[in-house]
Amino acid sequence: MAQQICLWRMAARRALKAVLVDLSGTLHVEDSAVPGAQEALKRLRGAPVTVRFVTNTTKECKRDLLERLTKLGFDIAENEIFTSLTAARNLLEQKQVRPLLLVDDKALPDFTGIATHDPNAVVVGLAPEHFNYEMMNKAFRLILDGAPLIAIHKARYFKKKNGLALGPGPFVTGLEYATGTEATVVGKPEKTFFLEALRGTDCAPEEAVMIGDDCRDDVGGAQNAGMRGILVRTGKYRPADEDKINPAPYLTCENFPEAVEHILEHLLGERE
């Protein structure tokens, strides 16, 4: 299978120091691991790189993600996981604000320790149970009075067993319109998501690569932040996805194991 290698790869000649790996669609698809992924991860860990697992989620706290991945045979530590919820939490701490949390109850553990009394910020995730008129008005009034609006991500909709369902994006858009403000979006494909994920790894974006199945959100977002992006043909990948972003993905390959092979063979820099 031909590999497409983007021209500017030749230019950025820094050895790889960090690998970001998307979860759903890349390491696993629903409740099954991508074949060979566990082995590939083991091999990647043998290399001198920092590994981080990144995902947009609004209702799975790190603990739950960790449990699921461990059950599937992946060797992962909780502090290696960086989610859009983590990104939101970091932002709240930076801004020193107290949020009204419109997030799923299952996401609350990731906000432990953050004060929520007398809120002066609004965080919106995928939380259908909170998207009722009363709660939306509560959020609206806070934002109109100056509270920052933080969106975990702005997905338009997602797929459920019985059809499509509205994501948080539409509700964030409605609040933006009503208040004349703009939300800060913390999840993929925002640049800040990827930069935040690298914080603490001591790696610059140019020294990192992102592996994911979502061309726009994973690869496009990462490359926009200065990283290299590897698109895998699993999960939500559809033929010709790689043509949809500019610049094209640094590499498009079959799956996570192949991506790891490429990294080990080509991106680790000079060997002593």
Binding site: E129, Y133, M136, L144, G174, E176, Y177, A178
Partner: protein
């Protein structure tokens, strides 16, 4: 002589109203009220002392019905329960469009999702929005208006809604047509800078903004407001007499100013 359009969604200017009624000025109510039928709305105003009838009201729901009939559209309604009777004559089976109004508590996730699923399943999705207001004032505080939810569905489906009601040009034009007057002969009075004042001015009418109801002393930001909104007509008494052609009415506007302790903004 001048004609007058009054928006009375919120504060009744009763004195002014009665004097205008007694004068030679024609009156029409342009409201985006979609939480009630015109009958109910008119009854409410009558209860407040206004001598008003249903035929003096231009409202979005009946205007939408005309559009639906013209284009053979069968709507799924996401509106307030109390305005549903306005759509009694419309075929709603097997919907091929969505009509969204100021649904208040009907803006539940489930209801929005239902409207979304209908739109996303259509080859040519049509979303008709009864107005596009950002928010309005109730006794218990400010509340999200239909515009916020219209934007939500637009974003979800990647479509553009068609607005029936203020500030759509067609809405004001139909009110003017009912009165048989030209835009230059009319003045719109309202509290909403975008929907009342802006919309009317874009039609060639002049407009007065009253500092009641939704009025906020600083503009709500956003890229929606075009520069035309910076030129609200001057309410110099002398000029107003010229514009309205009636000393009597002008006196009343200024009496109202004193009586209600509010300023008719210029």
């Amino acid at each position: 002589c001048a004609q007058l359009l009054i928006c009375v969604k919120l504060t009744p200017l009763l004195l002014l109203y009665n004097r205008i009624k007694a004068s030679s000025l024609k009156l029409r109510f342009c409201t985006n009220e979609t939480q009630a039928t015109r009958e109910k709305f008119v009854k409410k105003l009558q209860g407040l002392g206004f001598d008003i009838s249903v035929d003096e009201v231009t409202a979005p729901a009946p205007a939408a019905c005309r559009v639906l009939k013209e284009r053979n559209l069968r709507p799924h309604l996401l509106v307030h329960n109390d305005v549903v009777p306005e759509f009694a004559e419309i075929d709603k089976a097997n919907p091929n469009c969505v009509v969204i109004g100021d649904a208040a508590d009907n803006f539940s996730y489930a209801n929005l999702n239902e409207a979304f699923r209908i739109l996303i399943g259509l080859e040519n999705p049509v979303l008709i929005s009864l107005g596009r207001g950002r928010y309005y004032k109730e006794t218990d505080g400010l509340k999200l208006d239909v515009g916020a939810y219209m934007k939500a569905l637009e974003y979800a489906c990647d479509i553009q809604a068609e607005v029936v009601g203020k500030p759509a040009k067609m809405f004001f034009e139909s009110a003017l047509a009912e009165l048989g007057v030209q835009p230059q002969q009319a003045i719109m009075i309202g509290d909403d800078i975008v929907n009342d004042v802006g919309g009317a001015q874009q039609c060639g009418m002049r407009a007065l903004q009253v500092r009641t109801g939704k009025y906020r002393s600083f503009p709500v930001g956003g890229t929606d407001l075009p520069s035309v909104y910076t030129s609200i007509c001057c309410l110099n008494k002398h000029l107003l007499v010229q514009q309205l052609g009636s000393n009597q009415v002008v006196d009343d506007i200024f009496i109202c100013k004193k009586h209600f302790g509010k300023t008719l903004c210029m």
